[in-house]
């Protein structure tokens, strides 16, 4: 090894325009100056324009009476409500349709994704046709199709189509029986919570025992049985009863039951069908990403089919599936804003539509709407990063 004694001291840095560091600083100063100038220009223009149009600004309008009705809301809302209540109605309606869509699209998407990999020729072809057709047609067009061409051409109320389980569908939407819980039902709910907690505890205990003694315990079946028994006992002991209030056709409309407006049905249906085709592709890619060697290795370890899937294949596939799956959930939530085009009163419709038109506070309204979506997105990505860090491959 040569000695480093003879190493020269680092040459003195001289100022030169060819120095990448100097250049970097200059570029950044130029860019920052341009951006600041641009922003100042925009703000100045906006101020002048607002003054010329005699518009005021600020968020004080939120505490004024809205004066319009919303066709569908989860809590009471009428003309005398405030704008911030309208904002809340829009927000809850967005969340409602997003949750419905996410649950249904996950089921449909996983089914179709697995079907695409089926060794059954017909099944895999049908799934492929579904995915290739739905993915290549704009969502807005599909929403129009479901809303204007299917649900709006349903028969009138008196000729409603009856579906199983006392469900009716007609021009005014979907009518389903409404479950009525009595006061005792709180005990059943409590029992359900206890059962779930017990189930999780059982799983922990079984895992600890497996690691200590190597003996296995049928957690799923034991937990399921115990939960059902517990809930059933509490149900009968507390005397809780669950009644269904079915929709009954009166002279002009249905009475009783739960009324789901056609806008909600069309939006949920469209979002589910559209997003499921993307989820199906993610699921397929995830399963295919686990190489066949893993299956063979698991077999040679003597794992049974069930364990092989549960312990080897699915965890590795899920690592690939979950990140794009979350972004599909996020896309679905953002796409629910298209409900504005078919009149579903979600955030964009209620707020960026009606409220903006009535108050004229364009900047405030649009920023608030964007902020909601921004918070949703950033929250999800934070969760995602945490999950990714947890399941990431631990490498040398």
């Amino acid at each position: 090894m040569a000695s480093f004694d003879s190493a020269q001291p680092a040459p003195q840095r001289t100022f030169s325009l060819n120095d990448p560091v100097v250049r970097g600083v200059i570029y950044q100063i130029v860019v920052a100056a341009l951006v600041i100038l641009f922003l100042v220009w925009i703000i100045n223009n906006t101020a002048i324009n607002l003054r010329a149009q005699n518009k005021t600004s600020g968020f004080d309008f939120l505490w004024k009476t809205a004066g319009f009705d919303i066709s569908f809301s989860l809590f009471p809302f009428d003309r005398t409500s405030f704008y911030w209540e309208a904002f809340l109605v829009g927000l809850t309606n967005t969340i409602l349709v997003a949750v419905i869509g996410i649950v249904l699209a996950t089921f449909l998407g996983f089914t179709i994704g697995i079907a695409r990999l089926s060794s059954n020729y017909l099944i895999s072809r049908l799934a492929t046709v579904y995915v290739e057709t739905i993915r290549n047609i704009p969502l807005l067009l599909q929403l129009f199709f479901w809303y204007f061409a299917v649900l709006k051409t349903m028969p009138a109320v008196r000729n409603s189509i009856q579906l199983p389980l006392d469900t009716f569908i007609n021009q005014r939407g979907l009518f389903v029986p409404k479950p009525i819980f009595d006061d005792q039902f709180i005990f059943v709910l409590a029992a359900l919570v206890v059962a779930v907690i017990g189930w999780i505890a059982l799983g922990r205990w079984a895992k600890a025992r497996l690691e200590r003694t190597g003996e296995r315990f049928p957690v799923f079946w034991a937990g399921l049985g115990a939960s059902i028994v517990l809930v059933a006992i509490v149900w009968f002991a507390s005397g809780a009863s669950l009644a269904f209030d079915p929709p009954v056709l009166n002279r002009f409309n249905f009475k009783g039951g739960l009324e789901l407006p056609p806008e909600l049905v069309a939006l949920a249906l469209g979002l589910t069908i559209y997003t499921a085709s993307f989820i199906a592709e993610n699921v397929r890619a995830g399963i295919q990403s686990v190489s066949y060697g893993q299956t063979e290795a698991a077999q040679s370890l003597g794992l049974k089919e069930n364990d092989r899937l549960r312990l080897v294949i699915v965890p590795q596939a899920m690592r690939v599936i979950i990140p794009p799956l979350t972004s599909q959930y996020l896309n679905l939530t953002k796409n629910s804003s298209l409900g504005a085009a078919i009149g579903y009163p979600e955030l964009v419709n209620v707020f960026t539509g009606t409220t903006l038109n009535q108050t004229g506070r364009a900047i405030e309204v649009i920023s608030l709407t964007m902020l909601v979506y921004l918070i949703l997105s950033l929250g999800t990505s934070a969760l995602m990063n945490w999950y990714n860090a947890r399941v990431a491959l631990v490498e040398r």
Partner: protein
């Protein structure tokens, strides 16, 4: 020692012939009836197809009213699709309110798009550079002059009168051609070591990606006029274009960044060791490899951009979807299947475009698949 050796004294009995692994029966056995569940699924699928296909055929062809039919034919009980309606309104679906006497102008633009665009997509076609200059420089200028007119004796046609497929194609072609370069710049900015530039790019990308396209379009259509100096108006079509391009470029940037991160450090170091500057390093070494990696993602973005052009309907632009939706309410063609026929037509148009783009990307993936074959 010899007594433990085994010597077969008679001929072993013949084994049964192996199961056939070729032919129709074997194929059916393997692909449709390999187990009980499989057989049940097959039977269910066949029943589903037996229900679906005749109905589909009846609706689309059998009971449908072909082009040239009359409204009365479309109004009978249990009628299929009303293609007569689609055929009679096809000009509106393509050109919108563009003056009928001037249809030759969009037609020339369509022809130029096909004649200049398609050769650009075929790798073997010669004169690539001349072709690219024609497509990216001459074609846009010529198109704007041709479509809006007002000079060379052409009648002025304001953008409010443009509509239908014409607008859909304009927005998507302009969007695709501008979003990719912008996206690459944003991705370079995000990967840059310069903190201010990096922060700006990250903020822009994350903000745009977090919000729905509609809000960006609303912003472009409502807030952009406020941002401009007094008296200066921005054309409605241009506002939509700005919105779609900015939105798409943020997504494109993330795709390109993914490709750049897949390139090993060694490539960056090797390029620096050759003495290449930043732009040459990126342009000749990193980006060609990175873009190759992410072709599926880029094309996926193109497809979503094409589909997303339909959203400009919400901010009052007259694209293909708007044209179809407007005519679906037309009284003179009022018929039970009028709306469905219109939407099926629009869906078919969008589907053909998107499906061809995705097939074309498969072709490029195979072509560029140098040395990554398994």
């Amino acid at each position: 020692m010899t007594d433990i050796a085994f010597v077969r004294s008679e001929i072993a009995p013949a084994m049964p012939a192996p199961r056939r692994v070729t032919g129709i029966l074997a194929w059916l056995q393997k692909n449709l009836f390999s187990s009980v569940t499989d057989s049940i699924l097959t039977i269910l699928a066949v029943l589903f197809l037996l229900w679906l296909l005749p109905n589909l055929y009846g609706f689309l062809i059998g009971r449908a009213v072909p082009p040239g039919g009359t409204v009365e034919q479309c109004r009978v009980e249990n009628v299929g699709a009303c293609w007569a309606y689609v055929a009679s309104e096809i000009e509106f679906f393509i050109y919108g309110f563009y003056p009928m006497a001037e249809y030759w102008r969009p037609n020339i633009v369509f022809a130029m798009l096909a004649l200049l665009g398609l050769p650009l997509l075929i790798p073997k076609f010669p004169f690539k550079i001349a072709n690219a200059v024609l497509f990216f420089v001459v074609f846009p200028i010529a198109s704007v002059i041709l479509l809006s007119g007002g000079m060379f004796g052409l009648k002025y046609v304001p953008t409010e009168q443009w509509g239908g497929l014409l607008v859909t194609l304009i927005i998507s072609v302009v969007g695709i051609c501008t979003a990719l370069p912008l996206g690459i710049l944003l991705a370079l900015g995000r990967q840059s070591k310069l903190p201010i530039i990096k922060t700006l790019c990250v903020c822009f990308i994350e903000l745009i990606r977090a919000v729905p396209l509609i809000t960006v379009l609303f912003m472009a259509s409502i807030m952009l006029p406020l941002f401009m100096p007094q008296g200066m108006t921005v054309d409605k079509l241009l506002r939509a274009l700005v919105g779609v391009t900015l939105f798409s470029s943020a997504y494109m940037a993330e795709v390109v960044r993914g490709g750049m991160q897949a390139i090993g450090r060694g490539q960056y170091e090797a390029a620096s060791a050759l003495g290449l500057g930043y732009w040459k390093r990126m342009g000749f070494v990193i980006l060609p490899q990175a873009l190759k990696h992410v072709i599926p993602g880029i094309v996926g973005n193109f497809i979503s951009l094409f589909k997303d052009t339909s959203l400009v309907y919400i901010v009052g632009m007259k694209d293909l979807l708007e044209a179809v939706k407007t005519k679906n309410d037309a009284i003179e063609w009022a018929a039970p299947t009028q709306a469905i026929s219109g939407y099926i037509f629009a869906a078919a148009v969008f589907w053909i475009f998107c499906f061809s783009i995705s097939r074309y990307s498969r072709y490029w993936e195979r072509r560029l698949n140098t040395g990554h074959k398994r």
